[in-house]
Structures are given as structure tokens and as C-alpha cells.
Symmetry: C2
Subunit: 443 residues, 2 copies
């Protein structure tokens, strides 16, 4: 019988789970210190809740669930697996608006499912770690979100990351000012996205040949896109203001960028922000700031997000301001594993001590001793069978358990316990009441 997990899905054995839980606990701790509260939504949503929110390709990647019973025989689906954590949040905000605080700040760490073609580092079930602030258009929100995400990464041991920052209104204004018709913005961005592959001249030529822009305008735009991320933030702001040619909405976007940089300078994101006019982010629902976390020597990002002031309105009818950032747990774990960034304690085996069983008559006493050591706060395993002591000790050693206790007939009579340290081979007799303290001291 096939015992593999389903394609693109993973089993997490204990060491994996401990590493995952460590990262999630740091994320939760930091987000809580920023005043965010936990939210959880079901893995399964009504199919209408999800369809049409992620673009055509997104719709195709949604796992759909068959109707139950007779109805299922038609092959129709009425439910679907959660595809991200943002659309469920928008639904929750619309559903519980009256019960939620005016400024609802939530974090959510849950798996999502996408029927992508599985490939190295890309899975069909993966966790997202989202933090979002609902109900305010203030740029304090952006600064706090970027500060919180930066603090998470610092706490995990990342030091050299940067946060690429752009603004949908600035981006749109820039394209319009350059002469790209609004209806052609998507096409122009797809072409501009090829900078890494075909170079500035190739992109300029393509923009011109597709009649998206006059060649001089195209060259100017491409030059800004190509160098933006490397210039100082002040230089980028100046350049954007010039190139915006008075485009009003675009200039408001530039002002917001300037404010976000200034406010973030008062947060833990200080010095991390790189204005990058070429950053576009795929999802269609962004309306203002957009950001993405970049780490040197890593293609792709560790996370990203932005402002989406109109998504909640798709559920509620009236607009509710919203902004958030999502950290990619799986990528963070890949990098941390590859770079050995976990504190040693995270890989530790579960038990600190294993209680051996001397013979069939002492089984109950072994269970009792284990109970005493647990009450004293230790993580304790009990060897279940009455195998030879040597075999029991060898098992503890193979499990990486540091100490074993041995209580033979003599020890029982004297109320003593022999404690063997498997890393030194030393064995010591001591009163039963001293065992926990001894192990804690030498463990």
C-alpha cells in the first residue's frame, strides 16, 4: 500500500515540528508585543467566497471539495480549501464588523493549499504567517507592520535583509505620466518585469515595439526601474517627483512613500527600507503601499504585502481600510535550515531522562519514579519492556537521552536510585529525592 503523503504535501517528523513551532512562536510573540491578536478561520470555505478574488490563475489553483452524498455524484463542488489568509480575513471583518474593534489588528498562522505544480521548495500545503491592521488609512499602520516584520526576522537571526517599498498609486502615476494608457499598465508591467532576463535595452525595445511607449520615454522608465532599488531613498523620491510630471494621484503616492520611510525610521525597520519603483507585486487587490522582504543570495522574497483598502468592501459593500504583510514560513525555514540558524535547544530530543525497568516486579515503581521526576518538571521517558538493562540503556543513548535511572533490588531497599550520565558514562547513587535536582544541574 502507498504510504507516501499526497503529492506536494509533507509529513513533519518531530525535529521538523520543533523547528516549525520555534519559528511560529517567535512570530506570535513579536506580533503580540505589537498589539496584534490571533485569529483562526476554517481550512474549508464556501467556494463563492474564494472564486474571483485571486485572478484567473488563482481560481485554477484552488482545491475544490465535492458535494456530499447523492449531490456529489454530479461532480459539483460547493466548498474549497483556503488559498490565502487575506480573503478569509476580509470575510471575517465583514461578518463580525460590530463585534470587532474599530482598529482590528490580527495575526494568523495557518496552512493554505494551492494546486501548483510541486517543485523544489514549492508545496501544495504550506503555512502563511499574516499580520494585518484593519480600519485605518494612517501610515502609522505601515510603519508598525514593517517594524514588526523586521523585528521577527531579527529575532530569528536574519541580519542582512532589506524591505523593498513601492506604492501602487506612484507606480500607476509613473506609467501614466510616461504615456502608458491605463488599460495597458498590466502589459507594461509584465514587460518591465523581464529586466533581469533581457536587460534594459531588451525591455526598452519591447516596450517600444509593443507600442506601449515612445522609445525615449521607455528608456527613461527602464532606467528608473533598473537603478531604483540601488539609489538612495532621497534620490528615488526626487526622481519620482520629476518623472510624475504633475500627475496628482501619483504625487500623493510619492508623498506617502516619503512618510512611510520617515515613520519607519522610528521603528525596528530603520535603515532597512529601499524605495524600489520597479516593485509591482502580483495580486490585484493592492491599492497603496506595497512591500517585499529581500535577503541577499536568495531569489524570491521572505514575505511581502501592502495596502488593500477595497477588498473588505467586496464582502461588506462599504470600504474598510486594510494593510498587511505576510511572511513565508516555508522559505524562512529553508533558509534557517540551510544556514544553521536554529538555537541548539530547538533540535533537542523530547526526554531529559529515561527510567529503566529492572524486572517484572518493579514496573509499577518505575512508573511512580517517572511521575515524581515529571512533577519536578522534567521530561521523562519510561522504557516499556523488561529487556536487559544494557539494551534499555543502549536505546536511551540511541535516542540522545542524556540520563537513565536504574533501580535494582539493592537500590529499592535503600531508597536510592542509580543515575547514569550517558555522555560521560559516569554512574552515581543518590537518594531518590535528589534525582531531579541532579539531572537539572548536570543536564
Amino acid at each position: 500500500m502507498n504510504t507516501n503523503p499526497a503529492r506536494g504535501m509533507r509529513d513533519f517528523l518531530p525535529d521538523d515540528v520543533r523547528r516549525r513551532q520555534y519559528v511560529m512562536s517567535v512570530i506570535a510573540d513579536v506580533y503580540q508585543r505589537y498589539g496584534f491578536e490571533p485569529l483562526e478561520t476554517p481550512a474549508v470555505e464556501n467556494i463563492e467566497t474564494l472564486m474571483g478574488k485571486y485572478g484567473e490563475e488563482g481560481d485554477r489553483l484552488i482545491f475544490r471539495i465535492l458535494k456530499r452524498g447523492e449531490e456529489g455524484k454530479t461532480g459539483e463542488a460547493d466548498l474549497a480549501l483556503r488559498y490565502d489568509l487575506t480573503v478569509p480575513l476580509a470575510r471575517v471583518v465583514a461578518e463580525y464588523r460590530e463585534r470587532l474593534p474599530k482598529f482590528f489588528k490580527r495575526y494568523q498562522v495557518q496552512p493554505v493549499w494551492r494546486a501548483d505544480r510541486p517543485q523544489k521548495g514549492r508545496f501544495r500545503e504550506f503555512y502563511q504567517c499574516d499580520v494585518d491592521a484593519i480600519g485605518s488609512t494612517s501610515l502609522v499602520v505601515e510603519a508598525e507592520l514593517l517594524g514588526a516584520a523586521a523585528e521577527v526576522l531579527e529575532r530569528l537571526g536574519f541580519s542582512a535583509f532589506t524591505i523593498r517599498l513601492n506604492h501602487r498609486k506612484a507606480l500607476g502615476g509613473l506609467l501614466e505620466a510616461a504615456g502608458v494608457a491605463v488599460a495597458k499598465h498590466g502589459e507594461a508591467l509584465i514587460t518591465l518585469d523581464k529586466l533581469d532576463k533581457v536587460g534594459p535595452d531588451g525591455v526598452t525595445a519591447e516596450l517600444a515595439s509593443r507600442a506601449l511607449l515612445a522609445e525615449a520615454d521607455a528608456a527613461n522608465l527602464v532606467q528608473l526601474f533598473a537603478t531604483g532599488g540601488a539609489a538612495t531613498n532621497d534620490d528615488v523620491l526626487r526622481r519620482l517627483r520629476t518623472d510624475m510630471k504633475g500627475h496628482e494621484a501619483g504625487l500623493r503616492g510619492v508623498s506617502e512613500l516619503e512618510d512611510i520611510v520617515r515613520l519607519s525610521d522610528a521603528s525596528r525597520a530603520r535603515g532597512r527600507i529601499r524605495l524600489d519603483p520597479s516593485l509591482a507585486r502580483g495580486l490585484s487587490y493592492y491599492t497603496g503601499s506595497i512591500f517585499e522582504i529581500a535577503v541577499p543570495d536568495l531569489t524570491g522574497s521572505l514575505g511581502g504585502g501592502g495596502r488593500y483598502d477595497e477588498l473588505v468592501g467586496m464582502f461588506l459593500g462599504s470600504q474598510v481600510a486594510a494593510c498587511g504583510i505576510s511572511l513565508g514560513l516555508e522559505r524562512i525555514l529553508v533558509v534557517m535550515n540551510a544556514r544553521g540558524m536554529f538555537p541548539p535547544v530547538v533540535g533537542a530530543t523530547a526526554a531529559q531522562v529515561m527510567v529503566t525497568i529492572w524486572n517484572a516486579d518493579t514496573v509499577a515503581d518505575a512508573i511512580r519514579l517517572a511521575g515524581e521526576l515529571r512533577t519536578a518538571g522534567l521530561r521523562v521517558d519510561v522504557y516499556p519492556d523488561t529487556d536487559k538493562i544494557g539494551k534499555q540503556v543502549k536505546y536511551a543513548d540511541s535516542r540522545g537521552i542524556r540520563f537513565v535511572t536504574i533501580v535494582g533490588t539493592d537500590e529499592t531497599t535503600r531508597g536510592e536510585v542509580a543515575v547514569k550520565n550517558l555522555s560521560t558514562g559516569e554512574q552515581q547513587l543518590m537518594p531518590r529525592a535528589d534525582v531531579a535536582t541532579f539531572i537539572r544541574k548536570h543536564g
Copy 2:
């Protein structure tokens, strides 16, 4: 647009999540102290992994996932949502046998999905908290599992629970010895299960009329089933030995029950075990001990489990001993909510202090102050907008946040912060460096 969660599914708002996480953290902490390690498996399994493992009704309740792309148009399903945590464990043990320790002790706290008709307290997505020990037929396993489950419930504040204990071999032997043909055991147990509804005389009559048993044998069996749970364990053991009429496998089951009671007496389950010959447990995969946790004034149980030495063999081909217990998180939460069993801190709002914003010029400084307080370990919210201070303070109060900081022009000049305690109304000026200590002391 419909903003409800899907039928039978639930959104968990922050207070719900905090209560759930509290219970799960107690469970994880206790199980770790018993030497169990965490395992996680995917929500989605290949459909063949699940089908045929839960009986006919189980199969019907499995949520099936449509094939993707063109293939999905046939209405065929190739994947399914996890239905319990035991079958995935058996698959994992078979798949990773070489990498796992000889005695694999794991706990797993994850949601499962069942297409049951939703009703009060019964959901289509719910968490199970399973703990299982693989690889030993020793009854130490049972004693340790029952001790661990008892300790979890004690730590959560349950005091009056009992653990009903029976054994599949004892139950089978008893029926056979009474004269029920093996093929009729299922039918007899269904009839015996009606004791609460139709009473001893009704069940006796039905057993006889269905020709399952002679009337005298039926009356004797019914009497044992009706009083078993109330008699002392020693009395039940005596009675079982008599009624077993020399049935060998049945008597081995009785001996195991006796040993489990004796060993559990050395564990935290001491005094909780009630031998109950009427306990049958629905699932077909149990092969030895079976148990169920009962709380007074609560129909149904808080959890249950047993030994299933043959399930892993369905995946691996060769038998691997296994025993486990599953706690019902949702029922535990229902009881704890109804009886007010949560420590007050679990319901606490996220932030300990809210930083207000004096005016547009001090926004960055507010973010900076929040950062300082967070570095000092506090959970800190920042009001995002430059509303009137009175409105900001009112908001903090409505959120149950105890302290707000106010830094006006004068305070800025003097390097001071005004801290207002919203539960006393008192406001105090202090040096900026003292704020965190003050809040921690008076919070």
C-alpha cells in the same frame, strides 16, 4: 455576499483562539513531560489512504477533493481531508519505520474534517489531540497514556472525571462464553448499547427475541453490563473471571485489565480507573484495552482510545503494536467555557498599554516610544490616527487596555511621559525610561 463560514465550520476570534491555545499548550506541555514528541501530517491525504479504514459510515463522511484541471471535469476525487489522526499516524509509521525510534511516542494536535450533519456542539472541522505509543505490547504503555491524559485534565482543572476501562478480548470472550456466536457480536453489542434507553428488562427481552442468547444468559450478561461501572474493580474482575467460563483469550484480556489497573495506580490515573464491561467503543480497529473518559453531568466523553495492534499492519504488511488516547478539544472547551474554568489571564486583551499620538508632528516619536516599551517586554498598541486625545483614550478603555501614554509638547521638552491608568483614572508624569517598569509594576 454571504460572509458566513462554511456550514459546520467556525471562525475563531481572538478570545476564542487564546482559550484554544491555552488548552493546547497545557496538552503539549504534559505530553512532552511524558516523553512524547510532536508529529504533524497534511490535512489532505490520498483518498485510498483513508477509504475503508473507518467502516461504511466513516467512508460516507469523508470530504473528497476533486481532481484538478481537465481531470476534475469527470467529477472524480483523488484526495480527501484527514478524518482522524490515527490512520495518518499508521501511514507515517509504515513510511518512516527505519527513521523512527523503536518505541515511537508521538502527540498530534490538528484539525480533522467530517461531513457529519452539524448540530449543537458537533462541527465539521474540529481539533483532535492524540497521543500514541508505537512499538510495544507492554501494559506500561497503557498506564503511561492514562496517567498522561489524567494529568492533562487535572492541569486544566477537571477534578471529578473517571476513566472507564475495558478490553476487546475480555468483551469478546464474555459474549462467546454467554453463547453469542462471534458473527453476532456486533448485533449483540448494538442491542446491549440500548441499556440506558430501554432498561435491563427491555434489552434482555430483545437479546432473547433476536435469538442472540438464551433468556437466562441474556439476563446475566445484562446485569453485568448494567452494574459493571458501579461495582469495585476487584468485584468486576472476579465476576468477569467467573462469567468467562474458562474462555482463554477472554481470561488473558481480564489479566491485562488487572495489570493495567495495578500499574495505573502508580500513575496520575490513580483512583480514576473504573472497569466497565459494557464499554465497547465504536471503531473496529481496537484489539486490546479500550478506554473512555467520563465527566459527571456530561453525556458523551472527553476522550477515549485503546490498543490497535493491527492497524499499522494494514499499511506496512507486518504488525506493529500501537496504543493511543484521543482527547476531544472541542468538548473540553465547551465544558471549560460553561464552567468558567479558564485562568483570568487567558481572556486578557493583547495590549498592556496604548501609546497615543499628540499631533501630526509627534507620530514618529509615538512609534519610537512604542518600540522602547516593546523592547522592555511589554505588549504595546499604538493608536494610528491623530484623533483628539480624549477619543484615543476612550478607545483604549473600550479595548480593555489598562494604560495609555500621553506625550504632549511640554512632556517632549522635559523628556517625560504622562501615564494614565484607565482603571483608576490616575495620571502620572515620569521620565521616559521609567514607563515600562511602572506599567509592569502596576499592571
